[in-house]
Amino acid sequence: MKKDEIPQDPSPLDKFTKEVCYAVDESGNYVTQLSRGWEVKASALGITWEDIDKKVAEAKQKVDKGELSPIAYYIELRVMDLSIVSAYTGFWKWTIKRHLKPSVFKKLSTAALQKYANLFEVTIDQLKNSSVNA
């Protein structure tokens, strides 16, 4: 990449920082220069988030229909998976899978709910009524 070809496209990094790029100058020597971003990777990140949003919406629908507990929705919303939730809460993955059933979720202890609420950064009330608050 030549120094004058370093892209300066709008990116999610705007307002946070610019990033260091390595490129060659006119005499072929490597130099560094700050870049605002590159459209190609901004769109890679963009479609990744569109896909996450889609999964969140799907999970929400299933929660609304009573097919899954609100935990399923928050797992998607916080870009987690069973392993991550398990690592943070200390629950086994199969336990979490059970908690995804609305019938099991209803009977969860306050202590268990609090663990999820802490991880998802919501109150227990919000967790229970995610279909209203989302």
């Binding site: 990449m1 370093i6 999610p12 990094l13 307002k15 946070f16 920082t17 610019k18 990033e19 260091v20 790029c21 390595y22 490129a23 060659v24 072929g28 020597n29 490597y30 560094t32 700050l34 870049s35 590159w38 459209e39 190609v40 990777k41 769109s43 890679a44 990140l45 479609i47 990744t48 988030w49 896909d51 870009v79 987690m80 392993s83 991550i84 690592a87 943070y88």
Partner: protein, 338 residues
């Protein structure tokens, strides 16, 4: 002890932490490209069956932690490295270091890293930063990928140091044990070690999924992605490839440009002009990776989605694999200055 730590921005977090920590103990010659090259940072691996955020597990650099370890080791600098089971002990240790004037490298997760833009906050646990001071309840943080320094509260820092999941940092801290200047001769030898190790990792690593053969393997896989995954999911996979290749931290072109810069800087220590020529091959490879990213973008934006477009995409990687194989073979033949 007065706080003399100097924040220098780098392309990549671990390179930057390594460079800044080594400078803080008097290794004045060290730069980001030298740290990357001496640490044999250039790599490629595609791990089939493993998924990251539902997409393919692809890396363009060596395992997290290795660059600092190898670079310090090659320069004869002893390293302190510790993980903790108790956050309180981890904080105490950090506080003691800072009080004695020791800047500390920390492994952290980015998901709860408050100064990062939301779009970048995935559950990725191998980010690196330096804590160099404390004011009241706030830690002074030098994150090499950021233009300026940042602040994290005690709670925020604990949260990122004890992020959970894959590669959980467990409060890991690391820093050079003692201040120790390094001679140009040591740098010269460390460059040779670094290059030879990188040749080994890229050319001779067993199995088809890593090094230059890993690039070829991935190229061939990509050609099947359209049939196997469908256009939409294949597009998401390609977006993940592009993110690993180009995202903040890579310096562009999947670290290939940083490696090109390393070979130019190595030339200052080994007056062998073939280093400059081989550097050009890595520039060319970085450019090809970027052309491939443009092709990938055409696919994940839904502009070009035929099998022929996937074939072109895969062929880019086959071409890159050949080019890098040739470049590393030439590197393996370089006559080093004693």
């Amino acid at each position: 002890m007065p706080n003399t730590f100097q924040h220098l921005q780098a392309a990549h977090c671990e390179n930057g932490v390594t460079t800044n920590l080594l400078r803080s103990v008097g290794v004045t010659q060290i730069t980001e490209p030298l740290a990357f090259g001496i640490g044999s940072g250039l790599f490629f691996i595609y791990i089939p069956l493993m998924k990251i955020n539902g997409g393919p597990a692809i890396a363009f650099r060596t395992m997290p932690g290795l660059i600092f370890k190898r670079t310090a080791q090659s320069l004869g600098i002893e390293v302190v490295r510790k993980t903790f089971s108790s956050p309180a002990k981890a904080q105490q240790f950090l506080d003691d270091c800072i009080k004695s004037g020791q800047p500390v490298g920390c492994q952290v997760g980015v998901y709860f890293l408050s100064y990062f833009p939301k779009e970048y906050r995935f559950h990725f646990n191998a980010h690196n930063l330096i804590v160099y001071g404390k004011e009241g309840d706030n830690y002074l943080v030098s994150d090499p990928v950021m233009e300026t320094t940042n602040v994290l509260s005690t709670y925020e820092l604990e949260r990122v140091r004890f992020a959970k999941g894959a590669l959980a940092p467990k409060g890991q801290v690391y820093f050079p044990k003692a201040a120790k200047p390094v001679s140009d001769d040591q740098i010269r030898r460390a460059i040779v070690t670094g290059v030879k190790r990188n040749v080994r990792d890229m050319l001779h690593i067993p199995g088809p999924i890593a090094g230059v053969s890993g690039i070829k393997y991935t190229g061939n896989k990509i050609k099947n992605w359209r049939d196997k995954l469908g256009v939409e999911k294949a597009g998401l996979y390609l977006a993940q490839l592009v993110r690993m290749q180009e995202e903040i931290g890579t310096g562009g072109g999947g670290f290939r440009f940083i490696y090109g810069a390393f070979l130019q800087q190595a030339h200052a220590y080994h007056k062998n002009d073939s280093l400059l020529e081989i550097s050009k091959s890595f520039t060319q490879s970085g450019d090809l990776w970027r052309n491939a990213a443009v092709q990938a973008a055409g696919i994940y934006k839904g502009r070009i989605t035929s099998q022929a477009d996937f074939n072109i995409m895969g062929d880019y990687l086959l071409e890159i694999s050949e080019l890098e194989k040739k470049a590393f073979k030439e590197l393996s033949k370089v006559q080093w200055q004693k």
